[in-house]
Amino acid sequence: MIRELAFQDVLYLVLAMRWTIVLTLLALSGGGVIGLLIAACGASRHVALRTFARAYVGTVQGIPLLAWLFIFYFGLSIVGYNLPPWIAATIGFSIYAGAFLGEIWRGALISIPKTQWEAALAIGLTYIEQLRYVIIPQAIRVAIPPTVGFMVQLIKNTSLAAVIGFVELTREGQLTTAATFQPFAVYLIVAALYFSLCYPLTRYSRALERKRRVVH
């Protein structure tokens, strides 16, 4: 039965935001691990590892995110795993986020001048110590603003998980539309909720970037 758009519907939409946030955090942790590996390979001295990182990033960024989600949601059933939507979405988004984070972090690592490595070596630090005390603290300052910026992309892209039936903000919007038949009002609210998540992060990322520029 078609009913009016009530306050309760708005409340459900607001509550659905937590699944958007949960999926973003899952993707961020999965993507973070992959991203670290890809960044380490991409900044390495070995040609083979660098080629591997480039091939991974190129392949992932050359295929629509929607296709990754469908491959893991439908595709893995053939090897006998029937994945629930949230696991398929987490795997798909981790692979996707891994490529972008890997590329951002590789850029941060290679932006540290070679003289810093040499200086760290000269005062007798081991390779791990060089990374731990000299390179990474500097690279993090470069990497954080674009990483926060990418989080905005990730939050927005989790909306695609609605397509494989993961009930987050966009899917909740579709369900509410089906019940109330007021798509204009519902999708405006959904858009406003995404904006309220993303805009502060966008501002924060920009502020961090400005601060970094001033320091240098």
Partner: protein
């Protein structure tokens, strides 16, 4: 249990796949063209316009860049008819994609325009160039050259994002994939073929853009 891959059912539908590929290319080309032209106009508003127009352009860019494409698409295709504006799927797709790409293009081109040092503009004026000439030769073209990499990778991302309009049943490549999947149940085969086609398209597009760069900018 070993799974036997069967691509035959998928390749039997190659005519439909080619049609989808063509529509994806048309959608991408249209979106990139309109997105670039309107985006450049919005970028000039962001830099040169009066404060109220600049504020409006800025608000537009921020709203679009901080909400998902699929929600913008649903708002246009499902939401607008509720207030009396009815659009067919192709028009709704092109409008939604263009509105989205315009915001990104505007922001990138604005950054490009602002990267031109003031002294260069003053040099242009003191050489006796007119205002429009200064804008074209001293500001706009060098600005485009500076932001060319980020602009073109945005275009490639937009080509991939056209797959999202399959969700309002625009018959582009991804939607054709979904139809074949529901007919043949060859999930993995269908989506891997579609994925490889997108990968080829994005490689071709990247290659094309770097050839364009050589043609337009290397000589200068």
């Amino acid at each position: 249990m070993a799974y036997k891959f069967q691509f035959r059912d998928v390749f039997a539908q190659q005519d439909a796949i080619v049609d989808g590929l063509v529509l994806t290319l048309q959608l991408s080309a249209g979106t990139i063209f309109f997105g670039f032209v309107i985006g450049t106009l919005v970028a000039t508003l962001l830099v040169y316009a009066k404060p109220w127009a600049r504020g409006a352009a800025h608000a537009y860019v921020e709203v679009i860049r901080n909400t998902p494409l699929i929600v913008q698409l649903f708002l246009i295709f499902f939401g607008l008819p509720a207030i009396g504006i009815k659009l067919d799927v192709i028009t709704a797709s092109v409008i939604a994609l263009t509105i989205n790409l315009t915001a990104y293009t505007a922001e990138i081109v604005r950054a490009g325009i602002e990267s031109i040092p003031k002294s260069q503009i003053e040099t242009g004026i003191s050489l006796g160039l007119t205002g429009p000439q200064v804008f074209r030769h001293v500001v706009f073209l060098p600005a485009l050259k500076n932001v060319y990499p980020s602009l073109t990778s945005q275009f490639v991302l937009m080509m991939l994002a056209t797959s999202v309009v399959s969700q309002i049943s625009t018959a582009e490549l991804f939607h054709v994939g979904s139809i074949i999947q529901s007919r043949t149940f060859r999930d993995f085969e269908v989506y891997s073929v579609i994925a490889v086609l997108y990968l080829c398209l994005s490689l071709l597009l990247r290659g094309g853009f770097s050839i364009c760069y050589r043609i337009f900018f290397r000589k200068s």
